[in-house]
C-alpha cells in the first residue's frame, strides 16, 4: 500500500507492506537509522519519534497509521541555525554514553520544552520515564534538558567540541 507522510519537513511517499512498523519505515525504507529499537513491547523507548509533535513509540505504530501525519526524527532536530539546544545540552552535560537511547530522549526533551520551557527536575524525570537508559543513570540527562531550558537560544554549531 502507499503511504505519504511528512518526515523532518519533507513529504515522502512510499509503497509499503500494511504491517510495516513505523520504526522500520524510518530506518529501512527511508534509511533514517538515527531512530533505534530496543525491545518489542513498547517498554524501552529507544524508538521514540515525534508524530504531530508528540513523542510516540514507533515500534508500536504502523507506518500505515502514520500516513498523512508529520514525523520528526533525530535527523530533523538540528535546524538551519545549528544544533538544537537539546543536542547541545546532551553534549555539555554528558547526557549520553553509548548513544542508543539518546535520539528518543532528545526528542521527548524537545517536546517537553515546547510545552514547558522551564521544567523542573521532577517534571523532566516524569517526561522521560517511558524511556530506558542503561548507561547514564539519568541524572546527566536531566541536567542536559535543564541546560537546554537555560540556553533556549543556543543555536551554535558544535564547533566548541570539534574545533
Amino acid at each position: 500500500m502507499q503511504v505519504t507522510m511528512t518526515v523532518n519537513g519533507a513529504e515522502v511517499t512510499r509503497d509499503v507492506e500494511p504491517r510495516q512498523l513505523l520504526v522500520h519505515f524510518l530506518r529501512e525504507t527511508l534509511g533514517l537509522t538515527g531512530t533505534h529499537w530496543g525491545c518489542d513491547t513498547s517498554n524501552c523507548g529507544t524508538c521514540v519519534v515525534l508524530v504531530d509533535g508528540l513523542p510516540v513509540k514507533s515500534c508500536t505504530q504502523l507506518a500505515a497509521m502514520t500516513s498523512g501525519h508529520e514525523v520528526r526524527t533525530v535527523e530533523g532536530l538540528a535546524g538551519g541555525a545549528g544544533l538544537d539546544p537539546v543536542q547541545q545540552g546532551f553534549m555539555a552535560e554528558h547526557g549520553l554514553q553509548c548513544g542508543f537511547c539518546t535520539p528518543g530522549m532528545m526528542l521527548t526533551a524537545r517536546a517537553l520544552l515546547d510545552r514547558d520551557p522551564d521544567p523542573d527536575e521532577a517534571t523532566i524525570r516524569e517526561a522521560i520515564s517511558g524511556q530506558i537508559c542503561r548507561c547514564t543513570g539519568y541524572a546527566t540527562i536531566v541536567r542536559s534538558v535543564r541546560w537546554a531550558a537555560e540556553h533556549p537560544a543556543a543555536a551554535a554549531t558544535d564547533q566548541e567540541v570539534t574545533a
Binding site: R27, H36, C39, N43, Q87, Q97, F100
Partner: protein, 804 residues
C-alpha cells in the same frame, strides 16, 4: 591522596562549563566534552543494525519453547517453500560441517543448533535466511519441530541430587550435573579462627540471576567472499580480536582471512563478550547463500538466551570478637551456570575473581569454596559489569558485615572503620592470594558519611521509627580487582590478557591511536585521546582514536572487567612515551645538540637553559618525515607500538551510602538519596568518570529493587521481556551525589585503576543494606534481592524468602 567532594550541581548552580566556553580546553586530563558525541546527537552513530550491505539477507532463529526435551524430528519443508526464504539450517546440517557444537570460553562446548535435545528455553533449534526480516520471521512459523518432554532441572539446589536428570548426556561418561569445585584461601586455618571467635554470624545470601540487557541487543552481519575465502564479520563485540581468533579456531577460516568489525555499540556491560550461536549462524548463512546475512536478536532472545549474570547462592559466615574486630570470612557457594558452561573468565578462575570476597578488611583467615552446576537454563554467568564476579564477592561481604553489625549492636559504618586495611599495609596481601596495590579507605568512608550527613540521618531515623515510619540507611564499602592480566596468570582460551596500542604522529603533528579494546559507550575516543594528549601535548581534538576493526588495530583481548584504562591505557601511555623518547632524539638532531641536553615541557623538547631553542611535536613530526638527517638507528617516523602486560591488577575502591524510605503499608521502597565516593586512582576525564559511576549506581538500584530473571517449575523464563525484566527509569533513581579521593595505582604507568564497574559492584549492597536497615524494627537481618514491594512486605511479615 587528595579528596574532593561534589554535589553534582544542576547547571544553574554551576559555573560556566569550561569545555563549552573556555578556548583553552585541557591538553591532557580534565573535563572535556566527548569527541564521539557530535555524531550521536545527530543520530549518525553507526550501530550494527544500521549497516546495510548490497544483497544482504536476513536471518532469524527458531528457539526451543521447552527447557528440556528430546528433538524427535524437524520438518523444514514448508519453510523452504516460502518464496522469500533462501535457506533453512538445522543442527543436522551443521553436523555435516562439524559446526553443530562450538567451544565455550570455559572449556565446555555449546550447541550452535540443537541436535540431540534442547537444554534451555530459548535454545537455538533452526536458522532461517530470507530476503527480509519480516519474511524470515514468517518462515519460523513454518518449521515443524516435534519434541519429547524431559524433566527439567530448574532448582539449582537439587541439581546434584542423585536422581536429577543428567542435562549434559552429550558429554561422554557424564552421570551428574556437576561442573567444578574450586576453592581459595586456607580452610583449616579459617576453621581454627572460627573455632575461637566470640561471635559467628551466618546467612544464606542469594545473588539472583540478572541480565545486562544493553539497549541494543546482540547481532552480526557475516559477509563471506568465496573466491578469496575472506570473511568480514560485523558484530556487536566487546572483544573483536579475541572473537576473530576464536572464529578462526571454530569455523576453520584462516585468521588472516577474517576481519571482525565492531561498530558503535549500544551498550555492552558484558553481554557482548561471548560468541553466540547467532553469530556463527550468520556466518553459516552467508557461506550457504553466498550473500551477506544479518542476524539481530529481538529483546526476548537477548534476555532468554544470551549471557546472564550472577546466580550465586552463597552461605556466608563471619567470625569476630565481641568488640567488633572481624577475624575471618568464609563462604560456600552454589553457582548455577545453566545448560552449558559458557562463562567468560580467565581460565584459572572458574569462579572469576570471587575470592576477593575478603573485601576491604584486614582478616586473619578466609576461605571460599564454589561448586558450579548445570541446570536447564541459559548459559553465561559472567556479565553485567561484574568485574569477573567481584559483584557477588562484594555483595556477600558487605551484606555479611551488616549482619555482624546487627548481631553486635554496632553501627555498620563504625564496624567498617574499625576493620579497614590501613594505608601503611599496602601493598596488602590478602588471605586468598590477591595483592591490593594501594588504598586509603577511611577518608573515603568519612567523606561519604560527612557528605550525606550520616549522624543527622541516624537521628532522623530514630525519630521516625518512634512514629512507625520506615527509613533505612545502607553503607557499603568495596574494593575491586580489575584490569586483568597479568598474562602469565590470566588468559581466556589460551589468549593472554594483554592489550596493544599503536601511536602514529602524522607529519603535521596530528596523531592516531589504535586500540585493541572496544568502547560500548565509555568514551574511549575521548579518554584515550586525552591520555595521548597528556603524554605528548597534542590536543585531544588532534588525536584520532581507532578501534573496533581487527584490520586496523593491534591485537588485544578487549573491553570487559574494567580493563580498558588499566590495560590499554597503560599501553597508550607507554607507546606515547616511546614516541616522546624518539622525538627527543629527532629534536636533538634538528637542534644540533645532544638528547640529554633537552628537557620536556608538554608538547615540546627544548634546550635546557634556553627554552626559546626547542621543537614542538609538530615540528619534530615533520622533521621525522622530512629531510632531517636522523641519528643512527632512528626510523623516519614518529610511531610506536606497545603490548601492555599489566604486572598486577588494580584495586579501585569506594564508599557508598544509600537512604531509603519504605512505605509500611505497601512495602514499596523509595531511594531517597545516594552518595558515592569513589577512588579509581588518576582521573583522566572527570566527566566521563562520573558518568560511569552514575550508570553503575542505577544498575545497583535496579538489581536491588527489581531486576530478576526467574523461572517456573517447567523452566519457563519469567523475565523474558522488558514487561517482566524491569530496569529502573528516571523515576526510581535519585539525583546521584558523588565525591572522590585519588589514590593512584603505584604500578600503573599513569596511576589509573579503572572505573567502569565500580558502581555496579558497590551499589547493590548499599541499597539492600538500607532496605534491611529500614526493616530492622521487624527483626529482619537479611532479605534477598530483588526488594520488590511484595518481597519487602513478606519480609515485614517475618518471612523473607529467597528469590530462588
Amino acid at each position: 591522596m587528595t579528596a574532593v567532594q561534589e554535589r553534582s550541581p544542576m547547571p544553574q548552580e554551576r559555573e560556566a562549563n569550561p569545555a563549552m566556553d573556555a578556548p583553552d580546553r585541557p591538553i591532557g586530563y580534565g573535563r572535556v566534552q566527548r569527541k564521539e558525541d557530535p555524531r550521536f546527537v545527530r543520530g549518525k552513530g553507526r550501530y550494527l543494525d544500521d549497516i546495510v550491505l548490497p544483497g544482504m539477507l536476513h536471518g532469524a532463529i527458531l528457539r526451543s519453547p521447552m527447557a528440556h526435551a528430546r528433538i524427535v524430528s524437524i520438518d523444514t519443508t514448508e519453510a523452504l517453500a516460502h518464496p522469500k526464504v533462501h535457506a533453512v539450517v538445522t543442527g543436522k546440517d551443521l553436523e555435516g560441517l562439524n559446526l553443530a557444537w562450538a567451544p565455550t570460553l570455559s572449556a565446555d562446548v555449546q550447541a550452535v543448533l540443537a541436535t540431540d535435545k534442547v537444554r534451555f528455553q530459548g535454545q537455538e533449534v533452526a536458522f532461517v535466511v530470507a530476503e527480509d526480516r519480516y519474511s524470515a520471521r514468517d518462515a519460523l512459523e513454518l518449521i515443524d519441530v516435534e519434541y519429547e518432554d524431559l524433566p527439567p532441572v530448574v532448582d539449582v539446589r537439587r541439581a546434584l541430587d542423585a536422581d536429577a536428570p543428567v542435562i549434559r548426556d552429550d558429554l561422554e561418561g557424564r552421570t551428574d550435573n556437576h561442573i567444578f569445585d574450586w576453592e581459595a584461601g586456607d580452610a583449616a586455618e579459617t576453621e581454627v579462627v572460627f573455632a575461637r571467635a566470640d561471635v559467628v554470624v551466618s546467612e544464606e545470601v542469594v545473588y539472583p540471576r540478572v541480565h545486562p540487557a544493553p539497549m541494543e541487543t546482540c547481532g552480526a552481519i557475516a559477509d563471506y567472499e568465496p573466491v578469496e575465502g575472506r570473511l568480514t564479520l560485523y558484530e556487536t563485540s566487546q572483544a573483536p580480536h579475541a572473537h576473530r581468533t576464536l572464529f578462526a579456531m571454530v569455523a576453520g577460516i584462516p585468521e588472516h582471512k577474517i576481519r571482525v568489525v565492531s561498530p558503535d555499540i549500544g551498550g555492552g556491560f558484558g553481554n557482548k563478550v561471548g560468541i553466540y550461536p547467532g553469530y556463527i549462524l550468520a556466518v553459516v548463512g552467508s557461506i550457504v547463500t553466498g550473500k551477506p546475512v544479518k542476524w539481530v536478536e529481538d529483546r526476548s532472545e537477548n534476555l532468554m538466551s544470551t549471557s546472564f549474570a550472577r546466580d550465586y547462592i552463597m552461605r556466608g559466615e563471619v567470625a569476630a570478637t565481641r568488640e567488633g574486630k572481624i577475624l575471618a570470612v568464609r563462604t560456600k557457594v552454589l553457582a548455577d551456570h545453566g545448560a552449558f558452561n559458557a562463562t567468560a573468565q580467565p581460565t584459572k578462575y572458574p569462579a572469576g575473581f570471587f575470592s576477593i570476597f575478603t573485601g576491604s578488611y584486614d582478616l586473619q583467615a578466609a576461605h571460599c569454596s564454589v561448586t558450579g552446576v548445570y541446570t536447564n537454563k541459559a548459559p553465561g554467568g559472567v556479565a553485567y559489569a561484574c568485574s569477573f564476579r567481584v559483584t557477588e564477592a562484594v555483595y556477600l561481604v558487605e551484606r555479611m558485615v551488616d549482619v555482624l553489625a546487627a548481631e553486635l549492636g554496632m553501627d555498620p559504618a563504625e564496624l567498617r572503620l574499625r576493620n579497614f586495611i590501613k594505608p601503611e599495609q599496602f601493598p596488602y596481601k590478602n588471605k586468598t592470594g590477591w595483592e591490593y596495590d594501594s588504598g586509603d579507605y577511611e577518608p573515603a568512608l568519612r567523606m561519604a558519611m560527612e557528605q550525606i550527613g550520616y549522624d543527622e540521618l541516624r537521628r532522623e531515623q530514630a525519630e521516625k521509627r518512634g512514629r512507625g515510619e520506615l527509613m533505612g540507611i545502607g553503607v557499603s564499602f568495596f574494593t575491586e580487582t580489575v584490569g586483568a592480566g597479568p598474562r602469565k596468570h590470566m588468559d581466556i582460551v589460551g589468549l593472554g590478557m594483554a592489550d596493544g596500542a599503536e601511536v602514529r604522529v602524522h607529519p603535521t603533528g596530528k596523531a592516531v591511536v589504535r586500540l585493541s579494546v572496544q568502547t560500548q559507550g565509555q568514551g574511549h575516543e575521548t579518554t584515550f585521546a586525552q591520555i595521548l594528549a597528556e603524554e605528548l601535548g597534542i590536543p585531544p581534538e588532534d588525536v584520532d582514536v581507532v578501534h573496533g576493526d581487527t584490520d586496523q588495530t593491534p591485537f588485544g583481548l578487549g573491553t570487559y572487567g574494567s580493563r580498558s584504562t588499566p590495560v590499554s591505557g597503560g599501553a597508550v601511555a607507554l607507546a606515547a612515551r616511546k614516541v616522546k623518547d624518539k622525538a627527543r632524539l629527532i629534536a636533538a638532531a634538528m637542534l644540533e645538540t645532544r638528547p640529554e641536553d633537552l628537557e620536556w615541557e608538554k608538547g615540546r623538547w627544548s634546550v635546557k637553559g634556553d627554552p626559546s631553542a626547542g621543537k614542538t611535536m609538530a615540528e619534530i613530526a615533520l622533521g621525522a618525515h622530512g629531510t632531517v638527517e636522523l641519528p643512527e638507528g632512528v626510523d623516519g617516523n614518529l610511531d610506536a607500538e606497545v603490548t601492555y602486560d599489566p604486572p598486577n591488577l588494580t584495586f579501585p575502591f569506594g564508599a557508598y551510602i544509600c537512604v531509603v524510605d519504605v512505605d509500611p503499608g505497601t512495602g514499596k521502597v523509595h531511594v531517597r538519596r545516594f552518595v558515592a565516593v569513589d577512588d579509581c586512582g588518576t582521573r583522566i576525564n572527570p566527566m566521563i568518570v562520573e558518568g560511569q559511576i552514575h550508570g553503575g549506581l542505577a544498575d545497583g538500584v535496579g538489581m536491588a529493587l527489581m531486576e530478576f530473571i526467574g523461572f517456573d517449575e517447567q523452566g519457563n523464563c519469567l523475565g523474558g521481556s522488558f514487561m517482566d525484566y524491569l530496569i529502573p527509569t528516571a523515576m526510581e533513581v535519585p539525583d546521584w551525589e558523588t565525591g572522590y579521593t585519588v589514590t593512584p595505582s603505584p604500578h600503573h604507568p599513569i596511576g589509573a585503576k579503572g572505573i567502569g564497574e565500580s558502581a555496579t559492584v558497590g551499589s547493590p549492597p548499599a541499597v539492600v543494606n538500607a532496605v534491611v536497615d529500614a526493616l530492622a524494627p521487624f527483626g529482619i537481618r537479611h532479605m534477598d534481592m530483588p526488594c520488590t514491594p511484595a518481597r519487602v512486605w513478606e519480609a515485614m511479615q517475618g518471612r523473607p524468602t529467597p528469590p530462588i
